[in-house]
Symmetry: C2
Subunit: 243 residues, 2 copies
Amino acid sequence: MGKLTVVGIGPGDYENMTVRADRALQECQVVVGYHVYVDLVRARYPDKEFLTTPMTREADRCRMALDAARSGKDVAMVCSGDSGVYGMAGLVYQLRGEAVDPEVSVVPGLTAACSGAAVLGAPLTHDFAVISLSDRLTPWEKIEGRLSAAAEADLSIVLYNPASKGRPGHLRRACEILLETLPENRLCGVVRNIGRPGEEGRLLSLGELRGFEADMFCTVFIGNSQTVPIAGKMITPRGYRNV
Amino acid sequence: MGKLTVVGIGPGDYENMTVRADRALQECQVVVGYHVYVDLVRARYPDKEFLTTPMTREADRCRMALDAARSGKDVAMVCSGDSGVYGMAGLVYQLRGEAVDPEVSVVPGLTAACSGAAVLGAPLTHDFAVISLSDRLTPWEKIEGRLSAAAEADLSIVLYNPASKGRPGHLRRACEILLETLPENRLCGVVRNIGRPGEEGRLLSLGELRGFEADMFCTVFIGNSQTVPIAGKMITPRGYRNV
């Protein structure tokens, strides 16, 4: 029986991987993942067996990884960002159930909230909420409720999956909900291609964000009531009695 | 003029540092930080100049780092966890103001939400809020409002700074607020000494958490309505239409 390590590889470049994630990939025999993420690591770990599945086949991917470990191989399942946050670690545990084999361990990685924030400056110094705009597995009403609650509680907000081919209007709808509570000039930021070629960050107001054409490579940040632009960066102070 | 890099070193061990954080520490001449965090990296980068300040002297620490960079040295300012989330990156930008020198860059690191979640299993697969129970810089009423909002929106919640010498009853008070909305049996987890000797995680109910004696080395996780224990791990499914 091999072991299965669920590895968060961070935004995609080697520099933003942890030493532990690198070691897990070096030591495994089989790398399993969504083909885009597997391609991010393939060149650095060439002498591995690679197993990939298309997008949305997450359960198949986890079963493939568990089966490879059961067949006696040490398996690394790669997730972009963190292995937990919208990642596969939970599904692996669910599909393994109450069995103790194969041994599963979780290697955390930089999630886009942290890696994207560093590009913009420091938008998440204080309390924040992470909310995905994907309604593939979650009712949209639930997402709306979370957006409203976070805005009313003056949390900074990070939006994952702000857009995809099947959800072109989600960011606009999210902004309209936020604008019921927050002002048009609330400072926001968008980061695109974090840790990859073409990485870019920009600041804009919540009113401007409403009309922004996000794609699936974007992560969106909405500041709290104290967030300010400083020297082109998006900065949230540490607290309400600052410095 | 040197440059200043604000480095998130993750939970504290080398394994959980990113390649980029390691490189920033290798390449700098001066390491600045709270003495406990500096001690975590001192042995691995011995030929550096080390500048430390005690706890709560964050502004002094940032000024010290900026001054060292202005004097011509390349400086790494170390933060535990991420450099942004409750870290020093924002304060560095605030204190530098609209000046363009010294050059500041932010290297993200694993925050306790991600590194602690990996110890417990996968409690943060879905939307979540990160809330600090420290009221040193934030009014307690604001913290209470955020706890209530997160609970009502069915977000998983990560509590940072659940206790300290000056705040012995904060976790109990936070649980009492959460229990106005959430059931006694809501699955929770506590991780202690993430990435350090004595690392341990345990699952407990929200009712049990109310009486738990947390210390400053603990990070606390409160599940959402779907979170379940599986084979001793704390697992939040990916969505409400799971697998």
